[in-house]
Symmetry: C2
Subunit: 211 residues, 2 copies
C-alpha cells in the first residue's frame, strides 16, 4: 500500500532528468520568464520537445496551456515536490581537507533540503570550525551521528583512508555515502554508495571534444 503511488509511476529515466529541468527553469524564472513552451525548453536543453512534454506531464499537477506553454513557477514547485526537496535530510562530512572544507562552505545544499551539519577528521590539526560548522575528531563520529540519527555522509578522505573510514561510518549507522575518493568501497547490503568521481566526469566531458 504505497502512499505515493502516483510518484512511483514515474520512470527512472524521467526522474533522472528532473534536476536538469529544475536548474533550467529556475534560471528562466530568475530572468522573469513566466510561461515557457516545451519547444523552448527542448531547444535550450538539447532534447526533444515531445520528451519534455511527456516528462512534465508525469510530474506536474497542471496541464500546459496551448499557445501559452507551461507556467514556470508552477513547474518549479511541482518538480521540487516530486524530488522531495521538502523533506529535510541531515548529513555530515568525513574528512576535513580542502574538499571537505569546501563542502562545508558550499552554498547549494540548503536549496535542496539538505543540512550539512558538521565534519569529522582524524587529524587534531583540523579540529575546530569551518563556515560556522564544527569539525569534530573522528573518535566522536559514532556518538554524534547516533545521537542525531544521521543516515547520510559525504566522504572526502584520501583514497587509502577511504575503506576504513567507510567501515567506521557504516558501523555508526550511516546508510547513504557520497564518496569523492576514487576507489571502490565494499559495503554491506542496505548501504548505498554513490561515487562522485571528478576525474571521470571531466574525462567524459573531454572525450566529447575529440568526437
Amino acid at each position: 500500500m504505497e502512499l505515493e503511488n502516483t510518484e512511483n509511476a514515474v520512470s527512472k529515466a524521467t526522474a533522472s532528468r528532473m534536476p536538469a529541468y529544475l536548474r533550467y527553469l529556475k534560471g528562466e524564472a530568475g530572468q522573469g520568464v513566466e510561461f515557457i513552451s516545451s519547444a523552448s525548453i527542448a531547444k535550450d536543453m538539447n532534447v526533444s520537445a515531445v520528451g519534455v512534454r511527456k516528462d512534465l506531464a508525469l510530474v506536474s499537477s497542471v496541464c500546459g496551456k496551448p499557445r501559452m506553454g507551461f507556467e514556470v513557477t508552477r513547474l518549479i514547485a511541482d518538480i521540487e515536490r516530486f524530488l522531495g526537496y521538502h523533506r529535510w535530510t541531515d548529513a555530515v562530512v568525513v574528512g576535513a581537507g580542502g574538499l571537505g572544507k569546501a563542502i562545508l562552505s558550499y552554498e547549494g545544499f540548503e536549496n535542496y533540503g539538505i543540512h550539512v551539519l558538521s565534519a569529522f577528521d582524524v587529524s587534531p590539526a583540523k579540529i575546530g570550525a569551518v563556515n560556522g560548522k564544527p569539525v569534530y575528531p573522528m573518535e566522536r563520529f559514532s556518538e554524534i551521528v547516533k545521537r542525531h540519527g544521521i543516515k547520510a555522509a559525504i566522504l572526502t578522505v584520501p583514497r587509502n583512508a577511504a575503506q576504513s573510514a567507510c567501515d567506521e561510518m557504516v558501523k555508526a549507522g550511516i546508510c547513504a555515502i557520497l564518496s569523492f575518493a576514487p576507489v571502490y568501497l565494499h559495503v554491506p547490503e542496505g548501504v548505498t554508495v554513490k561515487y562522485e568521481d571528478l576525474a571521470v566526469s571531466l574525462a567524459a566531458l573531454c572525450g566529447g571534444i575529440t568526437e
Copy 2:
C-alpha cells in the same frame, strides 16, 4: 571513415558503466585478485552477471575463460584504452575559492589522463599558487588558454558570477565546461556543459534512504 569504428559500436549505456567497472576492478587488483568471474563482479556491483559479460565482451580484446573468469589486469588495461585515458587533456579551473583550490590539489585527475594546469580568479587576493599550480588573474585567461590551446575548464565560481565567467571562457575558446555552480548556463552551440551538482547527487542518494 571512422578510425575507431569498433569502439563507436559500444552503446551509450555500456560506455557509461565503464568507469564503475574500472573503479571496482582496480580495487580488486589492489587486493591481489588476478582472475574474477562475471558472477563475482555482478554480486559486488549489484548488477546482472549477463550484463557484465555483455559489457566486457564489447570493450575487451580477449575472452574470459570458462572456469577462470576474466584476467583483472587485462580488463583494466582494456577499459582504460576504451575510455581513452591515454589521450592527455589539459584543463584549467575558473574560480579559486575553497572548491577551486581543492580541485587544484585533487589527487585523482592524473590517473585519468587529465592535467589540471592552473586556476584563474578575479580577486587579487587569490592570485599566487596552490599545490604548486599557479593562480592567475582572470584578465590573463584568454591569453593563457589560447596560447596552450586549452579546451576544457572547471567552473567553481559563486552562482551569480557563473554566467559571465562562462561567457568569458567560451569567448576564449573553451568548449567543454564542468560546472559546480548550481545554475543553468546559456552557451552557444558546440560548447558542452556538464553540471556537477553536489546537492543533487546527495539529494538523489538521500531519496533512496526513505524508499
